[in-house]
């Protein structure tokens, strides 16, 4: 063969962490090779993975720092850009103090980059650092943290194939993590039962033995109903409960009245199916519960996550191979970004900022003067956006696109416009970057090396394959340079991502054994916790004890609460949002990929045939969806795969989140994305 051997990188899209072999010719990514020998994906790649090259070589990539001027964008040199940024940041610090500054970190960046962002923010005295995990799995952290001691997937995804029963709650694995779905299919081939609770008949539900099409926002009632059946019929694992958990009595009392008939009334799922689901899940020898944003993106996200964990705990389906609890993450490094403490209330390694010992430890480790780290938790993503232009005067957004991803996005846009200084670091001139004062060009995944942690806690090293286009730079370099200009040079002495990883190993015990050399040679990465160099990593969590103080899991009682906005006479339908297979989150990457966008080019909403008939809508009509916050126009797709009364819209298009509610889960601060009351209006005079 000619040329250099392919470079094995980790796919930049979802959290499965597939390997992608890049062919490099003349310093450019020329093609990709299926990584057939990879234990992660065995050569498989989804459509987004295949299209990843279109992002690296995209003509619209930013190549120079851009500064806003009266006449539009002006390309400036890096020196000038960084100087400007440092000066503006210093001005804000001087005038308003560190609380007026906020950092949006990114789950698309490596562990090292997230670590640096939070370190810079905290060194400046601000805990206002957060990232998009707040919008997807924050409730997992607040829910599972106190129960199990750790808010992460308990098993490797490949463990799914050993399960005899897979229960999906609000997760559409087939569409969102296609490559991981092969393990589900494999389990099914071995005779496993698949249960899917989802208001839509998603591709995951196509292979389900039992599909529970519940009303959006009623997952908690369904889970409570199932727990009632389990206790009623004595299907719980009493030995496991006695040995490893606390608080079962309170839980049992709380589900005393939540019988299947009650749950059926609330969820719209026949009681018979709830009973059947409970029996199938509880009786299986090995069962897995997979949940996703259908559970977390609710006002009651934390409670629902806890109900999921309760279900897994009382049946003993946790802490064994093939039995686990899987909060499936969306982004390639959302797990890592959380581990690195890019969260307003948590320091690296999930140590709370309110803990004085933790603060002292990090002040020592980082060589900062005592008292530098702020004790109060900072603002979360949604709070930052609400406070932007008011309390928050300066925002540094790295690889985030809040104008598309935030709920009630119209208000977010207004707020961002009022900022004194908005710095955006991104690959493209995104919807958010268009509002910025300064835009810095970042390097894509193939243009920088770094470690990334996928959804089953495996830390993988992704090496650099090519140089960034033009003057674009990797995020870690940008942050280091910015820190130097802010006068923190001695605290940011990094010359490469490897240097940063060495520091991470010292301060985050779970990453202790992950030397750059070891990561680079581990074929499928190392699952944390991995405390030292000889430790093989931990594929199954909670095998012998939970990560709580006394090693016992806490069971939490369930209290059912209704969704904050129920359909009424004016807004008779329930709008729910989700992903489609060809697009990814804000669409900043996928909507720019010609091959993906051509197959799914426009926004659509799915409507049940009966509802469509009532509204006089036909397939392909233009329809206006109106909520109390705004309206969007889209093409109507009439399909029987959504339940009656439910309207579904994918959230990859900027229009969608103008409609969603900005009410937050009180502890996780995650917004209610999944339910909103809406009405449908036919748009006159426009054909398909």
């Amino acid at each position: 063969m000619n040329a250099a051997p392919p470079v094995r990188t980790v796919c930049p899209y979802c959290a499965v962490g597939c390997h992608l072999d890049l062919l490099v010719e003349n310093g450019r990514v020329a093609g990709l090779e299926h990584a057939v020998d990879s234990p992660v994906n065995g050569g498989r790649l989804c459509a987004k993975g295949h299209a990843a090259l279109e992002i690296v070589n995209h003509p619209d990539r930013l190549q120079n720092p851009l500064q806003r001027s009266a006449s539009g964008w002006v390309p400036v040199s890096w020196d000038r850009a960084l100087d400007t940024a440092a000066e503006r940041i210093r001005n804000i610090l001087a005038a308003h103090g560190p609380e007026a500054l906020a950092f949006l970190s990114t789950a698309k960046g490596s562990n090292e980059e997230n670590y640096l962002v939070q370190k810079l923010a905290r060194a400046l005295g601000s805990n206002n650092v957060d990232h998009c995990a707040r919008l997807c799995h924050a409730s997992t952290l607040t829910g599972l943290g106190p129960m199990l001691g750790m808010g992460a997937a308990t098993n490797a995804l490949s463990d799914l194939r050993q399960s005899e029963c897979l229960f999906f709650v609000g997760s559409n694995l087939a569409e969102n993590h296609p490559v991981a779905f092969r393990w589900v299919q494999e389990a099914k081939d071995r005779g496993a039962r698949i249960l899917v609770a989802d208001p839509r008949r998603t591709p995951t539900a196509w292979i389900a033995d039992l599909h529970l099409p519940l009303k959006p926002g009623t997952d908690l009632a369904l889970l409570a109903g199932m727990l009632h059946v389990i206790f009623q019929e004595g299907l719980q694992d009493d030995a496991f409960i006695a040995r490893r958990t606390r608080g079962v009595e309170a839980l049992r009392a709380s589900v005393q009245h939540t019988d299947p008939l009650w749950a059926a009334r609330i969820t719209g799922v026949p009681a018979r199916d709830i009973v059947r689901a409970a029996r199938l899940y509880a009786k299986a020898r090995r069962a897995s519960l997979i949940y996703c944003m259908g559970v977390t993106q609710h006002v009651h996200g934390t409670e629902t996550v806890r109900a999921c964990a309760d279900l897994a705990l009382v049946t003993g389906h946790i802490g064994r191979a093939g039995s686990g609890l899987f909060p499936v993450r969306g982004q390639d490094n959302v797990q890592g970004a959380c581990d690195m403490g890019a969260l307003s209330g948590l320091l690296p390694g999930y140590r709370p900022v309110t803990d004085p010992d933790a603060r002292t430890f990090f002040e020592k480790a980082w060589g900062l003067p005592s008292g530098t780290l702020a004790a109060a938790p900072g603002l979360t993503v949604t709070e930052m956006e609400q406070a932007a232009g008011h309390r928050v005067r300066g925002l540094i957004a790295i690889g985030e696109n809040p104008v598309v991803t935030s709920p009630d996005s119209r208000r977010t846009r207004e707020n961002l416009k009022r900022l004194d200084f908005l710095l955006v670091v991104d690959l493209f001139l995104t919807e958010t970057a268009e509002l910025a004062h300064l835009v810095l060009p970042a390097a894509a995944w193939a243009e920088k090396s770094g470690s990334r942690t996928n959804t089953d806690r495996r830390v993988q090293w992704s090496p650099k394959a090519v140089d960034p286009p033009g003057e674009a730079r990797p995020d870690w370099k940008i942050i280091t340079d910015l820190a130097h200009r802010l006068g923190w040079d001695s605290f940011f002495p990094y010359g490469s991502p490897e240097d940063i990883l060495e520091e991470i190993r010292r301060v985050v015990p779970a990453y202790g054994g992950m030397s750059p050399r070891r990561l680079a040679t581990a074929a499928e990465g190392i699952p944390w916790p991995c405390p030292d160099e000889t430790h093989p990593g931990t594929p199954v969590l909670h095998e012998h004890r939970f990560a709580t103080e006394d090693g016992l899991a806490r069971l939490y009682p369930i209290e059912f609460l209704e969704a904050p906005e129920l359909p009424d006479a004016d807004f008779p339908y329930c709008l729910t949002t989700g992903r489609v297979t060809l697009h990814y989150n804000s669409g900043a990457m996928t909507r720019r990929s010609p091959s993906l966008a051509s197959r799914s080019p426009y926004l659509f909403v799915e409507i049940h045939p009966e509802d469509a008939a009532r509204e006089g809508l036909h397939h392909g009509d233009r329809v206006r969806v109106v909520t109390r916050r705004g309206a969007l126009e889209a093409q109507a797709h009439i399909t029987g795969s959504v339940s009656r009364g439910v309207v579904f819209a994918p959230f990859h298009f900027p229009e969608t989140n103008a409609l969603t509610q900005n009410v937050l889960d009180p502890s996780a601060k995650i917004p209610e994305f999944k339910t909103a009351a809406c009405r449908l209006e036919k748009v006159k005079g426009a054909g398909p």
Binding site: G31, L32, H34, V36, G43, R44, L45, C46, A47, G49, H50, A51, E164, A174, E175, P178, V179, A180, F181, R182, Q185, K188, D189, R190, G191, A192, R193, R201, P203, T204, W206, I207, A208, D209, L210, H211, P213, P270, D273, R276, L280, T581, L582, S595, R599, T639, G640, S641
Partner: protein, 179 residues
């Protein structure tokens, strides 16, 4: 491998990986088409018909069926008249009068197979819905019993017992073990 790709569309999740892989492998036009019936996907590509209508109508006999390669285009004979595209009952063949390649159809990844690799869509399909070894899915289907996955049914009225628990193949022949 057999000279056709076996599609078990009941396993397809409509993830478009096959289309993307095909585009990557052939650099351009895609030869796999995901068609949808009421929202459910069916991947379609050249079926490599052994007595194929496209070959039958070709005036130059440029399309021939071969035991190992399926329906092969002999480029030097082809005049790009486009009759094959009209004759193909599955609509998976198209002719570009001026472009290259002239006939766009699944060639079972001829180039990749020459290098000892499997066809791109087969390799990349996450659920093994497309395969070049039909024996595997057929055997799997025989063992899975008579009823295909519930797939489309909203509520399963009866859940047959899983394999290997209560013995024998369930729900299969009328002559089920009475025990």
């Amino acid at each position: 491998m057999n000279a056709f790709l076996h599609v078990d569309f009941r396993r397809c999740t409509g993830c478009f990986a096959c289309e993307a892989a095909c585009r990557t492998a052939h650099g351009g036009a895609c030869r796999v088409h995901l068609a949808f019936a009421d929202g459910l996907p069916v991947p379609l590509m050249c079926r490599q018909c052994e007595n194929s209508p496209c070959a039958a109508v070709c005036p130059e006999e440029a399309l021939v069926w071969d035991k190992t390669h399926g329906v092969v285009l002999l480029v030097e004979r082809c005049t790009r008249c486009g009759l094959c595209a009209v004759a193909c009952p599955f609509g998976v063949l198209s002719v570009d009068p001026f472009g290259r390649p002239n006939v766009v159809k699944c060639d079972l990844c001829l180039g990749r197979r020459a290098e000892g690799k499997r066809p791109a869509c087969v390799l990349t399909c996450p659920t093994e819905a497309i395969t070049d070894e039909p024996d595997r899915p057929l055997k799997r289907r025989r063992l899975a019993g008579s009823v295909p996955p519930i797939a489309a049914r909203p509520f399963s009225e009866s859940l047959p017992a899983p394999m290997g628990k209560e013995g024998g193949v369930q729900g299969g022949f009328r002559g089920k073990n009475p025990r």
